[in-house]
Symmetry: C2
Subunit: 242 residues, 2 copies
Amino acid sequence: MNALTALTSRVVVCNKRSNILREGDPCETIYLVRTGWACRHTILPDGKRQIISFVIPGDLCNDHGLLSKHMEHCIDTLTPCEIGVISPHQFLDMLNQHPRISRALYWSGLVTEAMLRERIVTLGRRNATQRIAHLFCELLLRLNAAGLAQNHRYELPLTQGDIADTLGLTIVHVNRVIQTMRTMGLIKLKSHVLEISNWDSLTALGKFDLRHVNGLTGNDDRTSTAQQLHWSPWPEGLASVH
Amino acid sequence: MNALTALTSRVVVCNKRSNILREGDPCETIYLVRTGWACRHTILPDGKRQIISFVIPGDLCNDHGLLSKHMEHCIDTLTPCEIGVISPHQFLDMLNQHPRISRALYWSGLVTEAMLRERIVTLGRRNATQRIAHLFCELLLRLNAAGLAQNHRYELPLTQGDIADTLGLTIVHVNRVIQTMRTMGLIKLKSHVLEISNWDSLTALGKFDLRHVNGLTGNDDRTSTAQQLHWSPWPEGLASVH
DNA sequence: CGCTCCCTTGATCCGAGTCAACAATCGTGG
DNA sequence: CCACGATTGTTGACTCGGATCAAGGGAGCG
């Protein structure tokens, strides 16, 4: 993703808890989060919020935005963020000239979709404890892949309200479950740093299954057919594959 | 999608409630559902099932499967299905030679992702009544777009158990909610045919918001930037755009 | 120093789950 | 065409996980 960083013509600094993109906003410009966390979310008519996914350093806010004229959901920062701005022209040029990045981007789109599906499973069929355990495990893997976690420990800038709105729970209940996890010695969570003290127990508690985040672990076994066929998912045709 | 149909070298007929693709299966081959319904789902270790999405006539079972070596979830038929089989070579050739279909496919991928996000909102922040109302409305629009519904009426081959596993509810509760909707005169549901008798009330009940299924309604306002830039999402580079 | 979020805990309530029994429908083979 | 077993739908009684309401306590910050 460093090549993407190089592309950013300018960097915008956003305050904590501020709005990057609002539902209905035009989205020609590509935004790359360089530091900080953001989240996609929807506000329902009755004021309830559902967080759909998190955007962490290295992620694009609207990677396939090029085909959509308008945003379908909001993106807000959770922490102060540095956001790189990429013009559509630059972005498309990059796609054409750097097939490897193109493929990495497409790949990350697939991982994103897999995470959305897994979230659906979580919300549909797991209880509060499993949901929270699952989220903590998933974030560890993801942040690990981004180099933002060391030995089962990472910065977690979410409030308990954010966690509640991610997992379809209430603040109060999230708090109680986290308390239990603390007293069980599974996690330490203090001033927005999470440490998973007992990975095995936590994964067991959350029925966390590594298969679904395979794309994050590095030891994925995919991309055969397309590569065999010298096929590139994105580019214009100017790109020579492999 | 007719051009896709033409591509299918052979057609497989599957029984009702049979397995098309299993988690971990290799997925080089592309499967196009020509008639019948199928669903993506996951079975959890404790035996619970979560249905992730429905596959209806015209949909591909594994469109971006070309980049994944293995399936990450199962696909089962819900009704008897005729499934067209497309080899990866044929598929890629098509992508190169028919940029319009390519774009339509990419577009449908975006719509799919939007539906996944909307399902997350449903599961996270809507109650049982809203979930069911929402599902019925969403399916009407989707089937309408596929020409499979006429005046607020369509074939719904789901059992109440399927609906429960889609919406994170139990069979019993789904049944009670549907009963209520019937007695309120909102819907008629009998021998797998659903009629929405009172669209306005049902959408109000489900807080159903047309924005999120915009891609289905035909009057979408997207694809500007990419088209202006003569950019095609998929192809090899052999494709000349528009 | 005082506000404003955020976290924490208790008491109570309710939407949806569980358990159980039975009716209706469907499909299949005799 | 009917009989039988197997799904699917329906309803009631009861339970429970998580929501709601309410009240303090802490921590960051201007």
